[in-house]
């Protein structure tokens, strides 16, 4: 996912929010991961907005994508330049209305925004994990989120919502803890990565691992593999846009010059944009987390996970009401992949709504202001909330 949010001018916001931490799986009760290894203690950074109602039935759990964090909405202080990454969707009166719902967003396991990941201190060595951090899965991320939901004493989450890799977590929730959720909103997502998606992720990982500073993942305290991570991010940004959106946004326009430089500077605006996105990303993101999270996403495969061999059988466990949304120009997680999910849900007699939104902005469309998406989410949440009463 890209970063789009600039300072919100409407003034409608959850306001000042606070990042909190929840630590669990203290040894000897470590968390057992899908690959068989154990991990503990585990910390999740999380934020909450709005109020939990007396019967604790209005919780909405938001899942972020690859580079996101727990900061979905609001500001940390009055001088904060930017609100959370989904400010346009989460807030008073917005699509996910914080006047009605208790919104939770946690940073995923393996990330670097306050939750336990490869950059965290390994209690056994008192040094950062680096590649000693176990390869976690989307299922492990969801297991950790469920521990947070238990901690918050919420029996059933009204809705789990997320796009892209956040959408993978949404689908995992539906099959892993079907009786703990009422509804689910997977956006711009897939039941498994296609070869195309894995290929892009692999090139991005290779860019990081080819950086001499990467040093097999042991770079903490020294020079970081910034060049590799920047290139990885540039590749990501190409996949988040579309042919159409890049033509609109950049075309062949030149950046701050009237003619070619006849050297390898950033002549074109699109080059300049990618370089800027890459250099901005390395300031805030850990290269190893990028490796771990993309690998987890590539491994994700609902048909394999629920050892059924078919998506239809996998979804026989699901109980939630669904709103599935895809975007016409998304070539990273194209509509046919969302339709495969919808088909499996239909065959299981599940309550599913599906909408393909006409949008030119590629995969990133789910993060951009979109009245249609806001109205869909708002209407769906209102309905499932009313039906639980």
């Amino acid at each position: 996912m890209s970063e789009y949010i600039e300072h919100d001018k409407t003034g409608v916001s959850v306001g000042i929010v606070e990042k909190k931490f929840f630590t669990f799986a203290q040894p000897p009760k470590e968390m057992t991961l899908e690959n068989g290894s154990t991990l503990g203690p585990v910390t999740l950074a999380y934020e909450t907005y709005g109020e939990l109602n007396p019967d604790r039935s209005n919780a909405v759990l938001i899942m972020h994508a690859l580079s996101g964090d727990s900061h979905a909405a609001g500001y940390y202080n009055n001088d904060d330049a930017k609100p959370g990454w989904w400010e346009i969707m989460v807030g008073p009166g917005r699509g996910i209305d914080t006047n009605k719902y208790f919104v939770i967003c946690s940073n995923i396991l393996g990330s670097c925004m306050g939750s336990t990941g490869p950059g965290s201190i390994n209690p056994e060595t008192s040094k950062p994990f680096g590649l000693d951090f176990p390869v976690v899965t989307i299922g492990d991320m969801v297991t950790a989120q469920k521990a947070l939901i238990d901690h918050l004493d919420i029996e059933r989450v009204l809705s789990v919502v997320g796009g892209s890799i956040g959408g993978l977590q949404v689908l995992e929730w539906c099959l892993r803890y079907p009786n703990r959720i009422v509804s689910a909103i997977p956006l711009a997502t897939t039941p498994k990565h296609s070869a195309l998606t894995i290929a892009f992720n692999e090139v991005a990982r290779q860019a990081i691992m080819a950086d001499p500073n990467w040093n097999n993942g042991h770079y903490y305290g020294g020079a970081k593999p910034d060049l590799g991570l920047a290139v990885a991010r540039m590749i990501g940004h190409i996949t988040y846009l579309s042919d159409e959106s890049m033509r609109h946004k950049f075309g062949r326009r030149l950046q701050d010059r009237s003619d070619f430089s006849f050297n390898f500077d950033a002549d074109f605006q699109v080059e300049s944009y990618l370089r800027y996105q890459g250099s901005k990303f390395v300031e805030r993101f850990d290269a190893n987390s990028f490796l771990y999270i993309t690998k987890a996403a590539d491994y994700f495969d609902l048909t394999r996970q629920y050892d059924s061999g078919s998506l239809v059988k996998a979804f026989s466990r699901a109980m939630a009401k669904f709103l599935v949304v895809s975007f016409t120009s998304d070539w990273l997680y194209p509509t046919y992949q969302s339709k495969a999910i919808v088909k499996a849900m239909k065959k299981n007699g599940l309550d599913v709504s599906f909408c393909e939104i006409e949008a030119d902005w590629g995969h990133d469309a789910f993060l951009l202001p979109n009245e249609r998406l806001t109205a869909l989410i708002k209407g769906f949440l209102e309905r499932v909330y009313n039906e639980t009463e």
Partner: protein, 211 residues
């Protein structure tokens, strides 16, 4: 001829008739459900569990905003995914005349549903017959308002033809009503005498197997 006056005058007259045939708390699939007028009515007033299928994104969104379950897609394809007898009723309202393979679709409707409801504008209304006879032009009426070059209505159906079609295709007509109304009107007339000539719309409740 009897004038039907329903308590709820909010929905179209033809939809009022269809709604009156649907058992409370049943499961309904609406094919080409539009903005979900009928499904919303059934859900609110009869406790019906509804799903709609609609191709148009704007209309799909309107349905979701109303709190309906709806899938964006082509009805001919979407019906294939449901298990047998998944619904008590599958409704095809005012759409049969636009279907390329009506036999296939009706067979699918009666596979996934226990019963079907089919309604369509009648091409055998006297005004249609008269226009062709007198003016020599392809008829244009309130119910069939398109010219030959821009009509989505690729099927020309008369009530009599649909009855014959049921015998040939092998499904049964359990109930039928012929009505005479501009379908945007909230009230209308049920036609009993010379229906094939006088009705603008036909509404049929259909079931599996031959009569």
């Amino acid at each position: 001829m009897s004038t039907m006056k329903q308590n709820d005058s909010k929905i179209r007259f033809d939809l009022q008739i269809i709604a009156s045939w649907i058992e409370p708390r049943s499961k309904v699939l609406g094919l080409g459900c539009g903005e979900g007028e009928l499904l919303h009515f059934l859900k609110k007033n009869k406790g019906v569990t509804c799903t709609g299928i609609e191709l148009n994104e704007d209309k799909v969104a309107k349905c979701v905003e109303k709190g309906l379950t709806v899938i964006q897609g082509d009805i001919n394809e979407e019906v294939l995914d449901y298990p047998d007898d998944a619904f008590d009723y599958v409704i095809l309202s005012q759409t049969l005349q636009q279907i390329y393979e009506p036999g296939e679709l009706i067979r699918s409707m009666l596979r996934i549903g226990k019963r079907g409801v089919v309604s369509f504008p009648s091409f055998s209304h006297w005004s249609v017959r008269l226009q062709l006879l007198i003016t020599g032009h392809a008829p244009i009426t309130k119910e069939l308002p398109y010219g030959w070059h821009n009509t989505p209505n690729i099927r020309v159906i008369a009530l009599k033809d649909f009855r014959r079609f049921s015998r040939e295709t092998g499904f049964s007509i359990l109930r039928e009503v012929a009505i005479n109304t501009d379908h945007h009107e909230k009230s209308g007339n049920i036609i009993k005498l010379f229906a094939n000539l006088r009705a603008t719309y036909g509404i049929f409740l259909i079931g599996k197997g031959k009569q």
